[in-house]
Symmetry: C2
Subunit: 397 residues, 2 copies
């Protein structure tokens, strides 16, 4: 496998229960795991310059193949010297396959699904799924577009990211057992084709992750883990539906990780609440990505430690609330981010009410710093054998 | 006058034709003039953190009394320790009196006026103008509000800015001679009341500018300059309508500056095109403010030197244009701003098309840096006696 990925490596550096720390090396640097991957959907983490991401401790970000293939198009990014150069981010980059957005636009987010809010039925953007690939409608202009495993790899090749994902079908959680099995098997064939295409043009500068599918059915998850284990993917991602409750999600992830070849880095797709991070890291997850820290920032939500919360059911405070109108303290007193060092809650509240975009930028800076600091705390705790205590402090009942 | 402003001073350091350099000292630092004052209308220069403003070479910004008195309210800012602390900007700050917005909302901008686009009639936000002050409708909730000269000074006192402006009526340029004269005389009475109110509560931490009114009538401009000269204002601003053409604006400004007591700093309100900066600095203007550099950035317009323009009638390039889709060069090759050092025109074009707010932030960073660099070039040219040459290069026909 090292022949396929001469410029990549993964090593586990410590273990504490199911949780572990490690280092992923890639052409654009090292990633200390467990690590969070922030979403820069359209080649931009909304509202942040690359130097602000770095100052916030960010190790790696991702962009979405679905969005970039439609606007500006992979060729334009390739001509610009690849996505790193195009967006001014010279650190590790991951791209997804494009599948998730095609299948989920119209479905709502994974977190909607987990909260039982996900509507029934196939995404309205999907025109047809066949053995060859998927036909869908562009969100930019409604035009008909096709994505195949080969095309997805070709696009990600042009983007020049460090880590690619294989194309798979994301089945909704209410898919029945028969459909889930057929879909998983087709995803496996797509993953194989993705890998073949990857190997055909591999120049050693990129790597590819396989994805474990199988929906909410443990036997399929095992089959899928076995399939991915047998293929020379650099890393393994856990995708598809993770059920309708958080507990079901934790169980499915735990099931998958238990079966996965753990000499490779394991990524969990689309999960990123604070409590979710702790539960899944405990199961052995090395990296996670989610829009939530940056998305809730744009809705006025600032992540805080349990001690600072104003609602025990939420992991953030909502700075739109009138209680913050004259609150002269920062989001979190002991946070070292630019926002907490310079702005009060009252100022952020004002900026939100005044529709000033600086509000969204400032809270995003905080949330990204917050999550990066949290991942650093988690790594320290794993190294020192105190992960269970940290998890109890942050995600205990 | 030094008794009134013990912590303020102004000195002229060099002269080149009508243009001059100088230094304004105030409690939050020194301002090298000629200087540009950027608009942070609602306590935020849209899209920029204070450190980005500083890195862009910004010396001073302004906020608008009209907006802040309505949201969040002067008391909240006072309780937060004043506007500097509230917005995290520890450098010089100016506030206007609130009058301009009350009278101009609905009228369009001063640049609309100069371009002849300004609609006829009084602003729909004004309910009544009387000797006491002005009644107007809040843009936030439509409620009826009153602003008097005393109240404007009181609000600006609470904001704690370094430089206040007196309340005046901004008459539209189509106001007839009789109305313009009556309005000017009332503005003078309001300015006197503003100054009295200022002196009553003066603690030495703030200063106040008078405003020369008189519309497009040279004799009124002279009368108004004479009036302001006689009052112990720290500085003198040129306000009101400046005519319907750029040449008329330059002539009125030149007329005013010729009559003003030039031992004090002279500010020109609401003007900030590149060519306008050169013409007015040549007339002896020390500071100018305008929303234009930051506003055009939010519409995809990046300021460039004459050599780099794509349309000789515009001082900026429009990055929305499809000609920039694959343009790998920065906005301006020799610009040292973060945006030009990290982003190509193609990336900025993509961000605009993708509705990413980073586009607006990045172009704003460039435009603010650009104007600050231009003012620095202008100061150097005045000092070295080459201002006429520089003006010819940048604003020649």
């Amino acid at each position: 496998m090292n022949d396929l990925y001469p410029n990549f490596s993964f090593s586990v550096t410590s273990q504490n229960g199911g949780a572990r720390t490690g280092v992923i090396k890639c052409p654009h640097g090292c990633i200390e795991t467990p690590a969070f991957i922030f979403c820069g959907t359209k080649a931009s983490v909304k509202g942040l310059f690359p130097d602000q991401l770095l100052n916030a401790g960010t190790q790696i970000i991702l962009s979405n193949t679905y969005h970039l293939m439609l606007q500006p198009g992979a060729e334009i990014i390739q001509k610009a010297g690849g996505l790193h150069k195009f967006m001014g981010w010279n650190r590790p980059l991951l791209s997804d396959s494009g599948g998730f957005q095609i299948f989920s636009l119209g479905h709502g987010s994974v977190s909607d699904e987990i909260k039982g809010r996900r509507p029934v039925g196939r995404s309205p953007s999907v025109i047809d799924i066949a053995e060859g690939g998927v036909l869908f409608k562009s969100y930019v202009d409604g035009s008909q577009q096709e994505l195949t495993p080969e095309k997805s790899v070709d696009i990600q090749r042009k983007l020049g990211v460090d880590f690619m994902l294989t194309l798979d079908e994301c089945t909704p959680y209410h898919a029945d057992q028969e459909y889930t099995e057929q879909s998983m098997q087709r995803s496996h064939r797509w993953e194989k084709r993705s890998l073949d295409e990857f190997i055909k043009c591999n120049d050693g500068t990129q790597s590819i992750y396989g994805i474990v599918q199988g929906g909410v059915y443990p036997e399929f998850r095992q089959q899928s883990a076995d399939f991915v284990n047998e293929q020379p993917f650099f890393g393994i991602a856990i995708g598809g539906t993770l059920g309708s409750t958080k507990q079901q999600m934790y169980d499915i992830v735990s099931e998958c990780v238990g079966r996965i070849d753990r000499t490779r880095p394991v990524h969990l797709l689309g999960i990123g609440g604070i409590s979710d991070i702790f539960h899944n890291v405990e199961s052995g997850i090395d990296t996670l990505d989610c829009v939530s820290p940056t998305r809730i920032a744009r809705h006025g939500g600032a992540l805080v430690a349990p001690l600072h919360r104003d609602n025990k059911n939420r992991e953030h405070i909502n700075l739109k609330r009138s209680m913050y109108e004259i609150d002269g303290s920062p989001i979190q007193t002991d946070c070292g981010c630019y926002t907490c060092q310079h702005f009060s809650r009252a100022y952020l509240h004002h900026l939100i009410k005044a529709n000033e975009m600086l509000a969204l930028q400032a809270i995003t800076v905080h949330n990204v710093t917050f999550i990066n600091n949290l991942m650093s705390l988690i790594r320290d705790a794993i190294r020192s054998g105190t992960f269970a205590k940290l998890k109890d402090d942050w995600a205990g009942d």
